[in-house]
Symmetry: C2
Subunit: 358 residues, 2 copies
């Protein structure tokens, strides 16, 4: 039987609850598909800070590197919000992404027919939205140097960061995006600010050059401010979006909120080789942590992405995706996606219903 | 009688049409309020490129500097899209902002009761939205140095920009924002990415320090990705937002689209002293240029902001604002905000109706 090691990183807040559900789900499909999982649970984020003094302990990173795939819950919480930069939970996440070299972050934003009412957009605008944001994840202003604090010629304090992209960084994320678009509806929109930023001008140039290798993908370009508008005006115009790290951070969150159900949205972060990192796009929700109220479906769907993109276990992935839809069809809802007449359940019970559907 | 010089910069696309309407409007309220206007029309953007070879001729900048206020139509068009950086219409606009030192860009996003159906958001979400984005306009990654293209240690091409803020730049925009919030509903949300960027950490620190001087303003902080979500989820939670140049570019466009009627939204860009720059937030719309289809109301309302913020002529400004509402109440609509049962008019006729309302 096929055997895989999966590092589980529950993290903070609702992380442990949703990871526990996803683990049970993985275990059940594994037994049905003749897969064997070895799970290794490691600390990251605020809980790692409390335990070891750093947000990404070396043991966690090496366990992650040594595994076939990594499933993360969520990180962060009020408690650590005022920590210095190197002691922030977020810094652990950035170190993990850099350490695993997962430069391509895939963030689907899909409006499920069962949940179209959850969107704040009018039904006719939200209905049928199905887009994928491909976000560059290990470059740009998040990691660019020089960065820091200094004094300018007037003796004033300054804070500064560098937005920088090299050709190979643009090319590799663009390739992932073209391939992604090809498997979807064949439309790729590259988002930049090439009317102002040199880093964006190089981005646009390289993406445009690569297009000739993907004749079956229709490439367009859009400025980031316009993209932020178009996502509200008519999100259905988009199939696949590719953009840099910071624009991807903003636009993928905007796109996810357009679906109205961010408790449902998974993500995959992939590198050239080595294990991928899979996580729900929602945060650690400290206000409802430990209350069995969290929606575990984003993490369950992240586990499906782990099977599909991380391990090539397409069939097992489809089992999970189908089970999630079936559970929704049977009327089960956590609080975040609940509407009158349906069955309100907690995190655990939702997990059990998914297992039944499988 | 009070006498002012106003530089008119029609620019490109629909710019000349909407400026012509705004000019007539200014002239009428002037005669009613005992104001005298001297108008000077100068080229900027693509039309300046065609005429003089540069997007901001020296004569245009010095005329603007010598006047009491500047009213801009719109700049840009397909024709110049592939120009080199220093020959882009956009570069002319950036040079104008820098030349006039207008560091504070005020962008209201208001959903008028008459136009609530124009929003793609559900009525209960859009109804009553009334927020103001205060965007830093002459600093950050738009102007930061070093910037450009270079070769990295692997011999690869790189494109790079610098996001940088000095304390005085943060303090002066924060002061404008606190003052703005004070005159509105007393709530200020500062948007940054302080969990990742040093430039944002300094931003947050300075804004927080200034808060003690404005005890009647309630300050909160939000990460930019979350702000992009919250604008879609519940825009009514916002009163005044203050943020850096690039985040302000993205979020103010998103906010404006949430109103559903960007053909209605004005903006004001102000400096420490010297003339302010007033412009509609919409673009040059080359596809409908010269067809008498443009909505002139954003420019007319920009003229009202010019009277209020630029010249301190509050009463004249209110006359214009009231006239715009009255024209809408009387059922007149340009194509972009038209709905069945109302009176569809072109740019010129809309302008004449505003004059009648005044
Ligand atoms: C927590 C934060 C550092 C992170 C990011 O900005 O990348 C988060 O917003 C995300 O999008 O995964
Ligand atoms: C045209 C462009 C340079 C400009 C900007 O990015 O500032 C525009 O988008 C705006 O917001 O006024």
């Amino acid at each position: 039987s096929r055997s895989y090691t999966v590092t589980l990183l529950p993290g903070d807040g609702i992380g442990p609850e949703v990871i526990s559900v996803a683990k049970n789900t993985l275990q059940l499909v594994a037994s049905l598909e003749g897969i064997e999982f070895k799970f290794k649970e490691m600390p990251v984020g605020g809980s790692a800070l409390d335990l070891t003094g750093v947000p990404l302990p070396e043991e966690t990173l090496s366990a992650a590197k040594d595994s076939d795939a990594v499933l993360l819950g969520a990180i962060g919480g009020y408690k650590w919000d005022n920590n210095e930069k190197h002691l922030k939970p977020e810094t652990g996440l950035l170190q993990l992404r850099a350490g695993l070299k997962v430069f391509a972050n895939l963030r689907p934003a899909t409006v499920l027919p069962q949940l179209v009412d959850a969107s704040t957009l009018k039904k006719e605008v939200a209905d049928g939205v199905d887009l994928m944001v491909v976000r560059e994840l290990t470059g740009g202003i998040y990691f660019g140097k020089p960065r820091g604090f200094s004094t300018n010629e007037n003796g004033e304090e300054i804070g500064f960061n560098t937005e920088v992209y090299a050709t190979h960084e643009i090319d590799r994320i663009a390739r992932v995006a073209f391939e992604t678009a090809k498997k979807r509806r064949g439309k790729l929109c590259s988002v930049d600010k090439a009317n102002v930023l040199e880093a964006s001008m190089l981005w646009r140039k390289r993406v445009t050059e690569l297009a000739s290798k993907y004749p079956d993908v229709e490439l367009s370009h859009m400025y980031v401010d316009n993209a932020a508008m178009q996502l509200v005006r008519n999100p259905k115009q988009f199939d696949t979006i590719v953009t840099n790290n910071i624009f991807g951070d903003i636009l993928s969150d905007e796109a996810s909120m357009i679906t109205g159900s961010i408790g449902m949205l998974p993500s995959a972060s992939l590198g050239e080789s080595g294990p991928g990192l899979f996580e729900p796009i929602h945060g650690s929700a400290p206000d409802i942590a430990g209350q069995d109220k969290a929606n575990p479906l984003a993490t369950v769907l992240s586990a499906a992405m782990l099977l599909k993109y991380g391990l090539g276990e397409e069939k097992a992935a489809q089992r999970i995706e189908a089970a999630v839809l079936d559970t929704l069809d049977r009327g089960y809802r956590t609080g975040d996606i609940y509407s009158a007449g349906l069955k309100l359940v907690g995190c655990k019970e939702m997990g059990e219903e998914v297992l039944k559907s499988i």
